[in-house]
Symmetry: C4
Subunit: 239 residues, 4 copies
């Protein structure tokens, strides 16, 4: 593995870790500081996540593409922006990063370092929420990529996820790696291990729906669409 | 109908559907999670809508123009950016999309799939609110178009609607299609069918006021104003 | 008066009116919908104002410069961007616009159309707040202008005012015209006529402080600083 | 000292002062206006800080680089963007500015002008929070600088700090100068003098971690990376 490839994996690990620390940490803060209103807790959690996601995407986009999400990496490959074999290295980095981030959040808030979440979330409407949330996420990222406007991905993804926390019943995990990470914290943002496989399945379905919609809506690549979603290629060539 | 024209209709249907899912879904979440403070419910609903609208506009602008709103499509034609006959195909797609989005939100939150709203909203001050909200929306979109700054439409429209939820007494529907869609959900964001025609009439009046203001304030097109509001034309030519 | 000059005045009137409608209208909504928490009312008012201000500035910047504020127009002249005689026509348009906006907000919310505010706000700390708020506003707008970055004025001013609502004790009126307009609504955002002259005096002092700071920090104009704060000049030439 | 060098110090003093006034002032407002919900207080404080920080960075970036933070100035020198001897002049300006800003906030809200804070914050998890918060801040600023995207620093830093208020247990001071300034106000945002040295030590550790991460993730400078973090150099040459 080249130095540049290793850097990309470190970037995915670190970004996934910080993203999960934002999600879980702000969830813990919200739950303990706003005990009287769950909607306010969710608003605090959503705004922290949207703000953090914007910063993390602009920071890591030029290194690894700032996926932090196996469904995004798989869609990236399916749409021809990245070789499938790199996805196989990204996914473990993302999962380990999300677990590390949950542990970091627990440590920052003096919660048990690792504790299985007991929050059951598995219902039909929640699964529908995850399908919609994930399909929408893929639609946002790759519509911009194929229209040659990938520079808008950071604000668009942050805004989309901020909205999706509030408009889906599942609060929009939309990411298998963070779903796994969030099993490790028995707090506001946690998910019980028994609910995780259903969520992940729904996210995969949403990812497929998203890719099909992107392909239908953007059948051709405009010339400036050749810009990759990420600038990983630039670094790769430069390294 | 060409493939490109069909794609534009699918984009309008899909975008209108997702927009309504954001509005109705976040309304349901806000109402159930923040039962003690209606202002907080409205703030959650407004932020989710502003964030979602920004994402949806940047995603669909390059396909269909991202109108999601019959008054916007009509103003687009009135100001010469799009043929009237295309408006006739856009409007049904927008209305069907908004109905589908309300149903989707109901399904995600385990509410009755279709239930007429019982929220009466018809008062003089509310109608005045809708006139102001819609005139302002048209003024924002087409002032930018005629000044050659259509690339600012997404953040400007999102910010405007986020504000308008809070500064108009009607909470700024400003869109006949979403007004129809919101009849199909007896929740926070719903509107009783008996109130809808008055709202739609006020929105049409606001649209006319908005177009007149745009024409007065921007009597000439600068050279770079020739850029269309949307990039639909680009796709049309490329297809 | 040329047609272009008249359009600029209409733009200042209309923009000032809509800005005041946003401030007063969202204040009324916040006060009636969030009766239990004044901080939440102020947050709702601040977010609506920041969002609305961003939209109004991008919409009117290319017509009149989007001042909506006599202190901004005076600073614009003092720093050489606009003739003083135009300021004399802008100020009445701004004041009348702000009064009209307050009346519009009252009408939208079914409050008495005109009612003197009874909210006394005159204390030493509040006056200090207004000096700081207005000096900061001038510093933001004209530092960007003199550094050739006037395209950032809309988001920077909106963010600054959103913060200033919360970090100054006076909630940052920072604008003599809106101070006068807000006398006409006995609601959350109102100000008693007896408090207004003190506020306006403090705003003038803040404006002078702001201009002196801008002059010290940006002693030279870079070449691209020749871009005017507004694009009024463009329209003037084009008309 | 040249006129340009003096202007840079005035800019750091003034910007640090206004930043601290935003942090402390909005903290006082939040605490007194939202007494029933500490999470809501923190949200109000976080949004005011994020909005204010965005405005202050865009305003002062072209004069002094808009550091307002000794750790940022030191990292700027460590990464070769600024001579170390200038850091020695920046740091006192930042510390004095932050103290002045706390005093200004106290005066605006009619609190005792200077009063030692009694808020003890020294725990292991809080120190971990400060290490994470500061490392993340350095990572955000200098990843963008080394990738030639310093123009995104203002929104990215503002969003990052807005999130960090909510996702770290320490509420993310991440700045030794503001830590010192916040000792001077016995209010929401204050910190007891006995807790300050531990916080500052953790921030220094975070700064070192951040610089190491930046160096690892961005081993080479792309050609356009030569753009300095700030435009101070431009002014220096022009003066």
């Amino acid at each position: 593995m080249t130095g540049a490839a290793r850097r990309r994996l470190v970037a995915e690990f670190l970004g996934s870790s910080l993203l999960t620390a934002v999600v879980v940490g702000s969830g813990i803060a919200a739950q303990s500081l706003s005990p009287g209103d769950v909607g306010l807790q969710l608003l605090e959690n959503a705004l922290a996540t949207a703000f953090g996601l914007f910063a993390l995407i602009v920071v890591f986009a030029h290194v690894s593409g700032a996926h932090f999400n196996p469904v995004v990496s798989a869609a990236d490959a399916a749409l021809g922006y990245r070789p499938w074999r790199e996805v196989l290295t990204y996914v473990p980095a993302q999962i380990l990063g999300c677990i590390a981030g949950a542990i970091l959040a627990n440590a920052m808030f003096d919660a048990p370092i690792v504790e299985w979440s007991s929050t059951e979330r598995l219902t039909g409407p929640h699964l529908l929420g995850e399908v919609v949330a994930t399909a929408g996420l893929i639609l946002v990222i790759f519509s911009l990529a194929r229209a040659g406007r990938a520079h808008l991905a950071a604000p668009a993804v942050a805004a989309y996820i901020g909205a999706a926390y509030l408009f889906t019943s599942s609060t929009s995990f939309a990411n298998p790696a963070i779903t796994i990470g969030r099993m490790f914290s028995d707090t506001f943002a946690g998910i019980a291990p028994s609910s995780a496989p259903g969520y992940i399945g729904a996210q995969v379905v949403g990812g497929v729906v998203g890719v099909l919609l992107v392909r239908y809506l953007h059948p051709k690549r405009l010339p400036h669409e050749l810009t990759p979603v990420t600038d990983a290629h630039v670094n790769r060539n430069a390294a």
